[in-house]
């Protein structure tokens, strides 16, 4: 299974034209020029399967579920099989010492060349004791594996930004991959879970050009995270017309109006859901009637409530009433002071007598 990718694909009954077509669409999706699709197909067809080591830390396996299942009958899924996935606890048959050996063997054989995929955040509290694999802490394993990696893919919001484990009050001291590893190229693919095609797109880009795609300042591939959900949303015209669903089952909701008032975080969330969609292009959250949670943004869990519109207070205002009372108190105090001043002034006038004037 170490031959060029195209041979492996042929054995699976995938023709060259199917592959070319796939690459053309992938290039289009990644906003690359059409010629890149062909270059991509050629490079990828000839590419050897890269060794991929997938490390799970503080996570829920949702990212793995997303990647393996959503596109399983299509090419993305198969390409995913085509990489040499040398360590993935959930998918691998080996367990215990065998699994650890497989990882060490892969790291040794492909030193400096393998791609490291990480899902889940890394706890730093209590020397990392909150999450251990084979008796070693996550932070320890990550540092070791990052040493020989060509590049690191932080899969999902937890690996990218800390995600739910990092949510207030962050009991385990969770941090993201980029908080620990600073000397390797890291691409963040946030989302809870992330969109599968983004993962395959990044892999395809890496196989083709030997580098990671262009990233934004948060380390995300610009091709997929360049625009907000709101700007690409098919319900956007309703926002502009001021037509909003007020509850999840009112007339507006049935008419498919904008979900802004129901707490949609689309305006501040950069992701490709609105265009790529989910489950093989079937639908996506807003299309099924629920606002965007903003799951691909850092600290989305603590962004003031999923069902609160962006323009309303994140927390209830607590000091308003107290401030009114304090204001009234201050006002009354000042008015007493003013009245006293006036009285003093008046009295000073009254003591002005004829005698005073004649002095």
């Amino acid at each position: 299974m170490q031959g060029p990718l195209i041979d492996t694909l042929a054995r699976q009954g995938i023709t060259r034209r199917t592959f070319l077509k796939y690459c053309a669409t992938l290039a289009s999706m990644m906003a690359l020029p059409p010629a890149a699709g062909r270059a991509m197909a050629e490079a990828m067809a000839a590419a050897r399967r890269p060794s991929v080591i997938w490390l799970p830390f503080q996570e829920c396996t949702g990212c793995t579920e997303s990647i393996t299942r959503s596109h399983s009958p299509t090419l993305e899924g198969m390409i995913f099989d085509m990489i040499s996935l040398d360590y993935q606890e959930t998918l691998m048959a080996a367990a215990g010492h065998q699994a650890e050996e497989a990882r060490h063997a892969a790291m040794k054989e492909n030193a400096g060349k393998y791609l490291l995929v990480v899902d889940g955040s890394i706890p730093l509290g209590r020397d990392g004791a909150y999450s251990c694999i084979g008796g070693r802490s996550n932070v320890d394993i990550l540092k070791e594996a990052a040493e020989g990696a060509a590049a690191i893919v932080a899969m999902g919001s937890c690996a990218s930004y800390g995600g739910i484990p990092k949510a207030n009050p962050n009991p385990t001291g969770a941090v993201s991959v980029s908080d620990i590893v600073t000397n390797k190229p890291i691409v963040n693919i946030p989302g809870c879970p992330p969109i599968p095609v983004v993962m395959t797109g990044v892999l395809a880009h890496y196989l083709t050009f030997g580098s990671l795609p262009e990233l934004d300042e948060k380390g995300r591939p610009k091709a997929f995270f360049g625009e907000t959900i709101h700007d690409r949303c098919y319900r956007r015209p309703f926002y502009d017309q001021g037509k909003f669903a007020k509850t999840f089952d009112d007339e507006g909701a049935r008419m498919g109006w904008c979900l802004f008032e129901l707490g949609c975080k689309g305006p501040v969330t950069y992701n490709a859901c609105a265009t790529v969609k989910w489950n093989g292009g079937t639908s996506w959250p807003v299309e099924s009637g629920h606002g965007c949670l903003g799951c691909s943004e850092p600290d989305f869990w603590d962004a003031g409530g999923f069902y609160k519109a962006l323009s309303v207070p994140a927390d209830p205002l607590r000091i308003g009433a107290a401030a009114a009372i304090a204001g009234a108190g201050a006002g009354v105090a000042v008015s007493f002071a003013n009245r006293a001043k006036k009285n003093v002034a008046r009295q000073t006038h009254e003591t002005l007598t004829v005698e005073d004037l004649e002095k």
Binding site: I6, I14, T15, R16, R17, T18, L20, K21, Y22, A24, T25, A27, S28, M29, A31, P33, P34, A35, R38, P73, T74, L75, P237, R254, M255, G256, G280, G281
Partner: protein, 138 residues
Amino acid sequence: MSLDAIPIHVIDPPSAEPGLSGNAPPLLRELSELAKRLLASGETSAIDLSALPLTPADLAWLQDTLGAGEISVSLQANGESTLNETACPGIWWVTHRNEQGAVTSQFIEVAFVPELVKAHPEDVKNGQEYLELLISDL
């Protein structure tokens, strides 16, 4: 519970489809340049239609204007793809669909023969080997 029990209103798609944006006509000029380049140097090229701000009306206008040529190729590979020559020979309208029939990408290709139609030498070699096998079985 049947679907009818759920009070869903089916709304006609917005009748006022976004009209022409004016982005389509300049593409004709670009295609003309690309065709000139094909004649001069044999260099093929393509325009990715999903990468451009074109409305459905723009695409319809473009398809209408370019017209239909003599050849239409359909390719069954992970969903249907159609590669149709336009009324301008050498300009091909390429549409890729997935297994569900949804358009995944759309290109206008400027080439004597679209890239996908050509058989790859490797594949020809495989075919020839298969022929040998058939002959030896005779």
